[in-house]
């Protein structure tokens, strides 16, 4: 009955209480939304590469290696020689190895040389493989497979010719060897979407007439001649490795890191992602703190609402006192009302979050490659909701204590 009266009392002030509930709901939705985007971004981040046990490159930092090999951010300081690559590939604990050769670009997109094994072994988002939306993967020397963003931005489709530029923001284009778009990949939400993929041999081919970063003047080898040449790569930028058994990952990593012929670095993608995330994490924490402050603001609003209602409710308290209610009852009733308000706000906030997710999920996925799963509330989210309710109870204690003192002083006689 007391609970029913508390609801009736709230209902009698539906407008102010409703506004308070809305404020709490929006703040909770924002907080949980930020949390959702944060974990979603982290998962998307981690989903960029899966199924790969080790990434190998020239010795630098693990984050740097991860950034240039997987995220196409920054550049390799050095390459891995083809001999070293072959030696690692021949090790018995290596199940598969995929070479990556970077350094050229097409418009604003990076060009990556690799083998067809890349399409077989590169996995994202818990083991999903790359799929072509149009065409096929490359089988000719001058075939290119482009990511979804490349196709969308530049309006390319299968059989369009493209010209690769040397370096990243260079005007020196490899005009002599135009490529043909063989296939367009499905959207993945990974850097593959912004990559032009060609074969390792193609990378060699376009550099036939180049020495030291510049085209040899007057020299232009005809395509037919190039096709006859030995296009075995001289070096790779990095390589993705899958091991025979997960237990061998660490011994292989140690073996590569201690490789004598050349300074190499092998990193576990997950570990390197963690390191990278630790750096990005500062911004993430700041975002979370800001949305946390919004929740605090809404709770202060709740407190203000209770304060402003105290005077008009003095008579109500006097009635309760005359009926034999202790001042402690008045206090607990106000705290109960605040908890109901906070709970309704938190639950509405959760509902807003889910509606928002349903509406925004496809947009975020296509625009940012950020996939936010719609799951049942996690334990963490339930804790957030419980904390909001508890915090509502705590902030309401301040006006409730005032009401307690008022009801002790007033007794059952309100002097107005």
């Amino acid at each position: 009955m007391i609970l029913r009266l508390a609801f009736a009392s709230l209902w009698a002030r539906v407008l102010t209480v409703g506004m308070t509930i809305l404020a709490i709901a929006l703040s909770v939705a924002l907080f949980l939304g930020v949390e959702k985007v944060r974990t979603g971004a982290k998962a998307s981040f981690a989903d960029t590469i899966s199924g790969t046990d080790l990434i190998v490159g020239a010795r630098s930092g693990s984050v740097q290696l991860l950034l240039y090999s997987v995220f196409r951010i920054g550049n390799a300081t050095n390459n891995v020689s083809w001999e070293s690559y072959q030696e690692i590939a021949a090790r018995p604990d290596v199940d598969w190895i995929v070479p990556i050769s970077l350094g050229d670009s097409h418009r604003q997109f990076r060009v990556m040389g690799t083998t067809t094994a890349f399409f077989e072994h590169y996995k994202y988002r818990q083991g999903r493989a790359l799929q072509t939306a149009q065409g096929t993967i490359m089988d000719d020397l001058f075939d290119a497979v482009i990511g979804a963003d490349v196709a969308a931005t530049l309006g390319y489709s299968v059989d369009d010719p493209i010209v690769v530029a040397h370096g990243l923001a260079s005007f020196a284009e490899h005009k002599d060897q135009p490529f043909r778009v063989a296939g367009v990949l499905e959207k993945t939400g990974t850097p593959v979407d912004r990559t032009v993929i060609v074969s390792m041999e193609a990378i060699e081919a376009i550099h036939v007439d180049w020495r030291g970063g510049a085209q040899v003047p007057g020299q232009s080898t005809p395509i037919e001649e190039i096709r006859q040449m030995d296009l075995t790569p001289k070096a790779v930028t990095a390589a993705l490795i899958g091991v025979e058994s997960p237990l061998q990952t660490f011994s292989l990593q140690r073996a590569i890191n201690e490789y004598r012929a050349e300074p190499l670095l092998a990193v576990l993608p997950g570990v390197a992602l963690q390191e990278l995330w630790a750096i990005v994490g500062i911004a993430e924490t700041a975002l979370l703190a800001v949305s946390g402050m919004v929740v605090v603001t809404a709770l202060i609003g709740l407190m203000a609402t209770i304060f402003s209602s105290l005077n008009e409710r003095r008579r109500e308290m006097a009635i309760f006192r005359a009926m034999g209610a202790r001042p402690g009852f008045i206090l607990s009733m106000l705290v109960l009302e605040a908890m109901i308000t906070a709970a309704l706000g938190a639950i509405l906030g959760l509902a807003i979050l889910y509606v928002g997710l349903v509406v925004l999920q496809p947009l975020l996925d296509s625009a940012f490659g950020l996939w936010l799963p719609i799951d049942a509330p996690t334990l963490r989210e339930l804790w957030v909701i419980l904390s909001v309710i508890a915090a509502g109870a705590i902030v309401s204690l301040i006006p409730a204590l005032r009401a307690y003192r008022m009801s002790v002083a007033d007794g059952m006689m309100v002097r107005t």
């Binding site: 009955m1 007391i2 029913r4 009266l5 009736a8 009392s9 209902w11 009698a12 008579r315 109500e316 009635i319 309760f320 006192r321 005359a322 009926m323 034999g324 209610a325 202790r326 402690g328 009852f329 007794g411 059952m412 006689m413 002097r415």
Partner: protein, 231 residues
């Protein structure tokens, strides 16, 4: 003579924080089933006296005894419980929780008084019977209190004071918000109910015309000394 239901003796009280207002009362006694009208103008100490009887304030000295229990010896929370068990209160107006239904309001005191609750077999049926006895229509039970007329509200307040038959009813000018006709019918109903259950009634008012219906009329100034000194 049986023991009085209500007995105050040698009361001295000074309002805390308000210098210059002090009240003393040598003796006041009300017998079981007796109806007493306390007459006095505003400022005669009526409200203070009612608060003393109900135990929401305690005298600096002296004793208040209700139904054989010395309230002044109880702790604050025990006084609250005791009030819930033994005293029905009717105010001048604004008696009811505006957002509660009529039935909610009537059964409210039982919430704080387990013994009084036990005396009532079915609170809802009891509330309905009291409503009927006080001339309130059946349709009113689920109505919100703030939709009622003032006269109806005062009758609901009577029903609330009477439920579970507390030995004492304290009424603070319950008729002052009613017109003359409504006053008469209100008092008829109130007296019928207190007589039926042998309940003592202490009502304060400034209106001497009501006096004829009571067993005893006491002028506040005859029993209470109020001292106002310049602060």
């Amino acid at each position: 003579m049986t023991d009085p239901v209500l007995h105050l003796s040698d009361i001295a009280y000074r309002w805390p924080g308000r210098a210059g207002f002090a009240l003393s009362l040598p003796e006041l006694s009300v017998a079981k089933g007796e109806t007493v009208l306390l007459l006095g103008e505003s400022g005669s100490g009526k409200s203070t006296l009612l608060s003393l009887i109900c135990g929401t304030v305690t005298p600096d000295s002296g004793a208040v005894t209700v139904a054989g229990t010395q309230m002044t010896a109880l702790s604050a929370s025990k006084r609250d419980r005791f009030r819930a068990e033994h005293i029905g209160v009717i105010f001048q107006q604004f008696n009811l929780l505006p957002f509660g239904t009529v039935t909610d309001n009537i059964v409210l005191p039982l919430k704080f008084a387990p013994k009084r609750r036990k005396r009532v077999q079915s609170p809802l049926r009891e509330a309905a019977q009291l409503c009927a006895a006080l001339g309130l229509p059946d349709s009113i039970h689920t109505a919100k209190a703030n939709t009622l007329s003032v006269g109806q509200q005062q009758r609901v307040a009577v029903a609330r004071a009477l439920i579970g038959h507390p030995p004492v009813i304290i009424a603070d000018e319950p008729t002052s918000a009613l017109d003359a006709g409504a006053q008469t019918s209100f008092l008829d109903l109130l007296f019928a109910q207190t007589a039926a259950h042998d309940t003592s009634l202490v009502m304060v008012s400034h209106d001497p015309r009501l006096g004829a219906r009571f067993d005893r009329v006491i002028e506040m100034q005859d029993i209470v000394n109020v001292n106002r000194t310049a602060p």
